[in-house]
């Protein structure tokens, strides 16, 4: 960006963009008893192509309508017509209950995928009490590549369901096993609606 008046450059000579920051907010979606939340390239001002090499999705207080459900995601290679890309993933967690009866670090095989086309959970047994929620950051690398599989990493924290309330720190990672460009992503609960919560989408420049 520059400031030019009557063809005379007053300031910058084109270098202002260096101060604009590498993390660019693209879109915010807020759930209200929503079945799904989707970010589709070219729809509703969403950019989800090779403009950015890294995309991040941040989750703020995702609250399920149904107890012991999980926020989950899938991706699409046909701009949202189908969300069913094969994925191989891992999941481990650090878990600590409010009564101190359980303090665990373990791999959770129930929440990984082995070439599964289903939705990948991003939390573990979320509670739906009034103050319970899930937060975290999903990073998706180079979704527009037509050479490589599409890696992702997620770290988050959620309130465990009210039967055994506690903190669950979840770590999920893996890849969507496709060399087609990923151009859409969808989030939903494993069962029931997303009662409330916000997901923000960012693009990371120059990375």
């Amino acid at each position: 960006m520059a400031i030019i008046s009557n063809a005379v450059t007053i300031a910058d000579a084109g270098a202002f963009s260096a101060s604009l920051g590498a993390m660019v907010h693209i879109k915010t979606l807020t759930a209200s008893s929503s079945g799904t939340l989707s970010f589709v390239h070219g729809s509703s001002s969403v950019v989800f192509n090779n403009t950015y090499p890294i995309y991040q999705f941040k989750f703020f207080d995702i609250h399920p309508a149904t107890n012991a459900a999980e926020i989950s995601f899938n991706v699409s290679i046909d701009t949202g017509s189908n969300y069913n890309v094969a994925k191989t993933t891992t999941c481990f967690r650090s878990y600590h209950t409010e009564d101190d009866n359980n303090a665990t670090l373990d791999y959770v095989g129930d929440f990984d995928l082995a070439q599964g086309t289903g939705f990948q959970p991003l939390a573990l047994n979320q509670g739906n009490a009034g103050d319970e929620s899930a937060v975290g950051t999903l990073t998706l690398f180079n979704p527009s590549s037509t050479t490589f599989v599409k890696h992702f990493c997620f770290s988050g924290n959620n309130s465990h369901d009210a039967n055994t309330p506690g903190a669950v720190s979840g770590f999920f990672a893996g890849y969507a096993n496709t060399t087609s460009a990923v151009d859409a992503i969808q989030f939903k609960m494993s069962t029931g609606n997303i009662d409330a919560g916000t997901i923000k989408m960012y693009g990371i420049k120059d990375s």
């Binding site: 604009l20 650090s94 409010e98 770290s155 988050g156 923000k200």
Partner: protein
């Protein structure tokens, strides 16, 4: 942002930021320790914003160096503008460690540094930080939606420490402050002794 010449606003009158992408990550405040007992970020004090302006706040630690050897770097939050730092928290902690002489490798849940509905300070180094001249701790702490009056306040920390026994310790700490009151201040300190040196930067994520 505006363009002002000789006291006259040529462009913007301060509104240009609303129309120009300025990036989503905003530096709010930098604090530098110099034999400091603690470092605090309090909403409304010393230009700190710590309210519903941002949905996420990020604190980055650069070489937090204790005055006293073998001490935990730790934090707590406040719901009363920093008058009290003692919000009830339930948290998890696990770690991966490696000694410089290859004598010990560590990986596992670290119950000594978790909290169970406790108002104590939360440790962030999963061990203790050394005070050799080249020791210290660095990392990143995220706090989500601290101003919510509906939900508990989740946080996630990922950092690395140079311990006094010449061990590299990767600490991953997360949990929630079990309050539905808005959190508006945060305090960092070593378990005892001063913060000899180090920098903490606070960011807001739009």
């Amino acid at each position: 942002m505006g363009v002002i010449s000789n006291g006259t606003t040529l462009l913007d009158a301060g509104a240009l930021d609303s129309g120009v992408a300025t990036g989503a990550m905003t530096l709010i405040k930098t604090l530098t320790a110099s034999s400091s007992a603690n470092l605090s970020f309090v909403d409304g004090s010393s230009s700190v914003i710590f309210d519903n302006t941002y949905a996420e706040y990020v604190f980055k630690f650069y070489n937090m160096h204790p005055a006293t050897d073998d001490k935990n770097f730790q934090f707590q939050t406040s719901v009363d503008g920093g008058s009290n730092y003692g919000v009830t928290a339930t948290t998890t902690c696990f770690r991966a460690g490696k000694n410089e002489d290859n004598s010990t490798s560590t990986f596992g849940y670290f119950a000594a540094d978790d909290l169970t509905q406790s108002t104590s300070y939360q440790r962030l180094d999963a061990g203790r930080t050394g005070n050799d001249a080249d020791s210290g701790m660095s990392g990143t702490l995220q706090i989500f939606n601290p101003s919510s009056t509906t939900f508990v306040k989740h946080f996630i920390h990922d950092g690395n420490t140079h311990k006094s026994n010449n061990q590299s310790m990767h600490a991953l700490v997360a949990g929630y402050f079990n309050t539905t009151s808005a959190i508006d201040a945060i305090n960092f300190q070593f378990a005892s002794g001063n913060i000899d040196s180090g920098v903490i930067k606070m960011y807001g994520i739009k």
